[in-house]
Amino acid sequence: MNPKTTDRIATFVLYTIAFLIVSVLFGLLAYILYHGFQRIDLQFITSPPETMKAGGGIGPQLFNSLYLLVLTLIITIPLGLGGGIYLAEYAPKNKVTDAIRLSIEVLSSLPSIVVGLFGLMVFVNVMGWGFSILSGACALTVFNLPLLVRVVEESLRSVPREQKEASLAMGISHWTTIRKVLLPVALPGIITGTILASGRIFGEAAALLFTAGMSSPDLNFSDWSFTTPVSPLNPFRPAETLAVHIWKVNSEGLIPDARAVADGASAILVLTVLFFNLFARWFGRWIYKRLTAS
């Protein structure tokens, strides 16, 4: 075959692939959102789920997902900042640093069900927290932490050298330079990365099945203490999240409208992830403009 014909055929094939992917992906999004919007209304978002009959909502599950996200971030952000700063600024080239980097690689590629098993053994059984939000948040920390450490490290490394050297040349200590010079400049990158990682936590299910549990007690949304068993804020109660709920109604649910509930819940999950993505992009651009005056 002459090269020109091959070239034409190849171009045609590549166009077909691109078209196929765009249509599959758009079709997927359109399918989820179209079916979801037929189910979503205020009642669906706020009311508790039913166990046997149709018409249940996803109120507690939505709250659980958000609360779990907040708790996870409270644990992960300080640790992630610390780890990222160490790797970007202090880490010497030695065995310990290599071990830290290998750990990051292992943790970020572990299957989430394995993280769930680990959480089941350590947080649920050994620590004795039972199926609880706290166990779930710790399990999510296991694979959110390496992501965040990477984000912090990369953001710190992208700060121009001159700024750091100017600060050090004025006699300011390395630690103070990190806190007062490097971190503020790296902040936009860190925030954008954290929001993107949050989207991943929000949709996680496999790691939560055996840590945060597959049930949610009847919550009393007027009780905001941290200790009563029906309080939404109690970190020691079991908490089924939105993603786990989608899985549960499909594989072991008894409600007749499982399909519709899963449709609505999927659409909300996808919309939230879309929102996190768009917000992260917008925020990154906004803060870049503020800081660079361009």
Partner: protein, 293 residues
């Protein structure tokens, strides 16, 4: 003044090292806990390792229990390889399209869509597979619909964004002068793409993209569990139901008694998943080192 500086310096270094060291601690304890539980199947319950890895009968409730996990192992590998075979040409093709053929709308439309899809939760992929792919296969191709093929298709769509975006990065790193030299010598666009970009410059990067996608497919639990049918038999065709390591753990971990041989066998499956993670990391490191040469 000098002493105070020294003290805050030590404080900063110490506290950040502590945070970083937690990562090592978590990794070591994961390996320790999973391994100690996973190995007790063989040491405490006396299941033979050969039976576990090569036996095809899975009936842990029988007396004596049969612990042949080969159907699960085969299932995991089959869906992973199948998904990689489908996702690799599609993902790499899309990446070439975005970088070389239509950088304009390729980057404006394809890239944001792909990036958004990387973040879509895997349960949603499973659910769409359950409500679209399974009925489609049942009505048009035959069988129950819950099948190896359904698992492969769901995983393909799931890892496609990962493979595409990593391949795009790899192709973008190819130096411009190489391409221009090739075009200037009279090579067609496809000759340039095939000989220069794919075979010479970005092969390690593309391989890495495929391995990352495979790692994700191998470890995926819920999306596969929802569509694969969950029968502990080695499938004879693509349309037969199958099972994977991850979905066996997902379904049975909650229903078995901790400490029983059945339960420990599930932990051994977890240990296998952990070991495969190390294999994937070693592969990625090996390919990465090749790429630097």
């Amino acid at each position: 003044m000098r002493q105070r500086n020294w003290r805050t310096e030590g404080f900063g270094r110490g506290i950040t090292l502590f945070c970083a060291a937690i990562l090592i601690l978590i990794t070591l304890s994961i390996v320790y806990f999973i391994a100690s539980k996973g190995l007790s199947t063989f040491f405490l319950n006396g299941v033979s390792l050969t039976e576990f890895l090569t036996g095809t009968t899975w009936n842990p409730d029988a007396d004596p229990g049969k612990f042949g996990a080969l159907p699960f192992i085969m299932g995991s590998f089959l869906v992973t390889v199948g998904a990689a075979l489908l996702a690799a040409p599609l993902g790499i093709g899309a990446a070439i399209f975005m970088v070389e053929i239509q950088p304009g709308w390729g980057q404006k439309i394809l890239q944001p869509v792909v990036e958004l899809l990387v973040g879509i939760p895997s349960v949603v992929y499973g659910f769409v597979g359950l409500s679209v792919i399974v009925p489609f296969l049942r009505n048009n191709v035959g069988g129950l619909g819950f099948s190896l093929l359904a698992g492969i298709l769901v995983l393909t769509v799931m890892i496609l964004p990962t493979v595409t975006s990593l391949s795009t990065d790899a192709i973008r790193r190819v130096p411009r002068d190489l391409k221009e030299a090739s075009l200037a010598l009279g090579a067609t666009r496809w000759q340039t793409i095939w000989k220069i970009i794919i075979l010479r410059s970005s092969l390690p990067g593309l391989l890495m993209a495929i391995i990352m996608g495979m790692a994700r497919a191998f470890g995926e639990a819920l999306a596969v569990q929802m569509v694969i049918g969950n029968t502990p038999l080695v499938p004879k065709s693509l349309l037969e139901p199958a099972n994977t390591l991850t979905s066996a753990i997902t379904l049975n971990m909650g229903n078995t008694i901790a400490g029983s041989a059945y339960n420990n066998a599930l932990w051994s499956m977890g240990l296998l998943l952990l070991l495969m993670t190390f294999v994937f990391i070693l592969l990625i490191r090996y390919v990465g080192r090749k790429g630097q040469m």
